[in-house]
Symmetry: C2
Subunit: 383 residues, 2 copies
C-alpha cells in the first residue's frame, strides 16, 4: 500500500494547492492521500485566515482523503519543530511518501544534505551553537554550519522547511520516501494570476480586491470570518500591561531579555504591525516575533509547551469515505490514538488547541459556533 502525505497550511486554499495535490498524486499509484494541516495558527505567526474546518473541507473536495490536525504546539514554532511534528504524525499514520514544493526542485539536494548532517551531527551542532553565541540567528547558523561541512547552503524558507522534513525522516529512519517538485514562477507571483501566492491572495481578501480566479469558492470568503493578527492587538496590549516582567519571561519564546523590549514598546505602539516592526531585528525575524506574540496572547508558558510537545494522538479534521476506510484499517495497529471526538481524549496539546480556538472566537461573529465545532463529530465529506 502506498500512502501519500502532504504537509499543508492552506492559508487560504488556492489554485496552487490544487496544482500541488494533483502533481503529487501523479507521482505514483497512491492508495490514499493524507494531509496534515496547521490548525488555527500558521507557522509564519498568524491566525489562519479562515478556520480549520472550512480549510480541511476544501482539501477533501480537491483530492485529499483524510485531513489530520497539525497541533498548535507544532505550528506556532520554528521550522524544525514544525517539520518534526508533521513528519512524526505522518509516520504514525503510516504514510509511505511525502511530496513538497521547493525552489531547488531536486530531492537529491535535500537527501544529500540531510545525510551529511546526520553523519557529522557533532561537528554540525557544535558549529551551530558557536555561531549562535556570536549573535547569528538559528537559520543562518545552520546554513554556515552546512557550508562548513559540505560547502552547500539552503537559501529560501521553503527549502529550509523541505530540508527539515527530510532530516526528520533520515534521523528517525522512517520508511518514507521524499519527493519534491519545483515551484512554478507563477506560484511565487505577487500579482493575482491563476496560480498566485498565498500572500497575494490574503492581501486581496483583506483589501476586498477581486481574487475569484485565484482560488475555488471565492464567495466563501465574503461570508465567513477572516482572522488577522492585527485584530488581536488590543488584547496583546492588555496582556502585556497586566503581566509582570517575570510572567512575560515565563512565556514560550520570550528569551534573552525580550520581556524588556515588550514592556518598552507596548504603550507607544498603536498597531500590531508597528509593534512587530519595533521588536524584529536581524536576530529576530518577523515570523519569530509574531509567533512569540501569539504565545503571549495564549499565555503559553515554556512549561505548558514543554508538557504538550509529545503528541500521541492523530486528530481527524475531515475525511471522505476512502479516508474513513483507511482509518478503520489502521485502527488496531496505529500506535497513536485516533481522535474523531474531542471530549473523549485528554492531552495538554488538546487543551492548548482548544485555547487557540477560544482565542480565535474573540474575533468571530459566531464565537459559540466556532467553539462548538471543536466538540462536534468530524464531518464525513462526499468528495
Amino acid at each position: 500500500m502506498r500512502i501519500l502525505g502532504l504537509i499543508v497550511e492552506y492559508n487560504p486554499f488556492h489554485n496552487g494547492h490544487i496544482y500541488h495535490i494533483q502533481k503529487a498524486k501523479s507521482l505514483a499509484q497512491f492508495d490514499y492521500t493524507i494531509a496534515i494541516m496547521s490548525s488555527s495558527f500558521v507557522q509564519r505567526g498568524e491566525p489562519a485566515i479562515i478556520d480549520k474546518w472550512k480549510r480541511s473541507q476544501l482539501a477533501i473536495e480537491f483530492g485529499v482523503d483524510l485531513v489530520i490536525e497539525l497541533p498548535f504546539v507544532y505550528t506556532c514554532q520554528s521550522a524544525d519543530y514544525f517539520a518534526k511534528g508533521a513528519i512524526d504524525l505522518l509516520a504514525a499514520i503510516g504514510v509511505t511518501d511525502i511530496c513538497f514544493g521547493s525552489e531547488d526542485g531536486r530531492i537529491s539536494t535535500f537527501v544529500d544534505i540531510a545525510q551529511a548532517i546526520f553523519q557529522h551531527q557533532d561537528i554540525y551542532n557544535e558549529y551551530v551553537q558557536k555561531a549562535m553565541k556570536k549573535g547569528l540567528r538559528y537559520a543562518d547558523a545552520c546554513n554556515q554550519a552546512l557550508q562548513y561541512i559540505m560547502n552547500k547552503e539552503i537559501k529560501t524558507p521553503n527549502d529550509l522547511l523541505g530540508l527539515s522534513y527530510v532530516k526528520e525522516i533520515i534521523f528517525h529512519q522512517y520508511p518514507i520516501t521524499s519527493h519534491c517538485f519545483p515551484r512554478t514562477n507563477a506560484y511565487h507571483g505577487l500579482n493575482l494570476q491563476t496560480i498566485a501566492s498565498a500572500s497575494a491572495i490574503r492581501n486581496a481578501i483583506r483589501n476586498k480586491q477581486d481574487f475569484s480566479h485565484s482560488l475555488p469558492h471565492a464567495d466563501l470568503y465574503h461570508h465567513c470570518d477572516l482572522f488577522q493578527l492585527e485584530d488581536f492587538f488590543p488584547y496583546l496590549q492588555y496582556q502585556i500591561c497586566t503581566s509582570s516582567l517575570q510572567e512575560l519571561k515565563s512565556y514560550h519564546m520570550v528569551d534573552e531579555g525580550l520581556e524588556n523590549l515588550l514592556y518598552k514598546h507596548i504603550q507607544s505602539c498603536s498597531s500590531m504591525e508597528e509593534f512587530i516592526n519595533q521588536l524584529s531585528s536581524k536576530r529576530y525575524t518577523r515570523p519569530r516575533i509574531s509567533r512569540m506574540l501569539i504565545h503571549i496572547l495564549m499565555k503559553n508558558t515554556k512549561n505548558d509547551i514543554h508538557n504538550a510537545m509529545h503528541v500521541d494522538y492523530l486528530r481527524v479534521l475531515a475525511m471522505n469515505q476512502k479516508g474513513r476506510q483507511y482509518l478503520s484499517t489502521i485502527k488496531k495497529t496505529c500506535p497513536y490514538s485516533l481522535i474523531t471526538n474531542l471530549p473523549k481524549y485528554h492531552h495538554p496539546a488538546l487543551e492548548i488547541e482548544l485555547k487557540a480556538t477560544r482565542l480565535l472566537s474573540l474575533l468571530s461573529s459566531h464565537p459559540q459556533a466556532l467553539i462548538q465545532e471543536e466538540f462536534s463529530h468530524i464531518p464525513l465529506i462526499q468528495s
Copy 2:
C-alpha cells in the same frame, strides 16, 4: 495635637464631599486634616471615574491637607478589609479622630455594637460561620449574628462600613475617637440637586447631562478620561477565554465553583452589565461580582493578594504646605515608610497598584502620561 482622618473615594468629588469636609472640620479644632482615598478602583467594584491624581488635588483644594493612597489591595475588597486597610493606615499616620456620614447618625450605635462584638467574639464568629454555611452571604450572616447577641441590626451599606471602621478601632484599641453625622436627605437624592448622590452624578457624566451645579470644576470632566468598568469587557472576555478552569480558580474571589459560571456565561454575554447580571445572585451581590471581575482582569491570584495585604507604607497622593509640614513632623516617629517617590520603595501592594494603573491606561487617551504620573514626584498644591 488633634488630627482629623477622613476615609474617602471621591468618585467623583462633589458638593456632598465639600459639605462632609466642612462638617467634619467643624467638630473640633483640628491641627490637620488627612484623607485616605481609594486609588484606581473603588469598593463597589468599578474603576474610579477619574484618576486618583485629579481627585486628590480636588480634595486639597477643598480643605484636606494631605491625601494618602488607600491601596488597591484594600479597596477592591469586602467592607471589612476596606475598613481595616483605611483605619490601620490612618492610625499609622497618627490621626486622633475620624468622622463618617451615616444613615443612623448616632455614633453610640456603632460603638455599642462594636464593643458587644468585641466582648462576644467567639459566639459572634461561630454564628457567622454557621449562617454562611447555610448559604447566607457574609453581610447578612453578620447581621443575624448581631441580632442574636444584642438584638440589633445594621441595614445600609454605609452604616455597615461605619461599623467596620469603629470595630477596627476598638479591636486594635487605637487611640482614635469616632464621630458620625447623619447624611442629609439631599445627599441621597437621585436627582441632580446641589448635593446629589455620587451615583446620580456618575450617570449624568456618562450620559452627558448637565451636572455643573453638583460638583466643583464641572468642566474638568469634559476634558479628562472617564473610566468605566463596561469598557473593560472585551479584555475580560479575552482573559477568561484564554484561562483554564484551574487558572480562573486561582484568582482572588473566584470561590465556590464560580469559575464554572464564568466559563458558562462569558461567550453568550455581549456586555459587562449583562455578564454581571448573569453572575450575581442573592449570595453574590453585584459589587462582590464586580470586584472579582476586576481581580480577574488584573490576574491577581489569591497568593498575590495574600502577599500584598500587609501594607507597611503610606503613599502620599497630594498635599499642601500644612500637609508637608505634618509629614516632616512625623517622619522620624512613624513606623510606616512615607512614600513620595515610587521607584525608591518596593512592596507587593505597590506592584499591584502599578498594574491597576496600567490596566486603567488601556482606556486612557494618554496612556503613557497616566503611567508616568506614578513615577513623578508628588505635587505640592497651594490651597
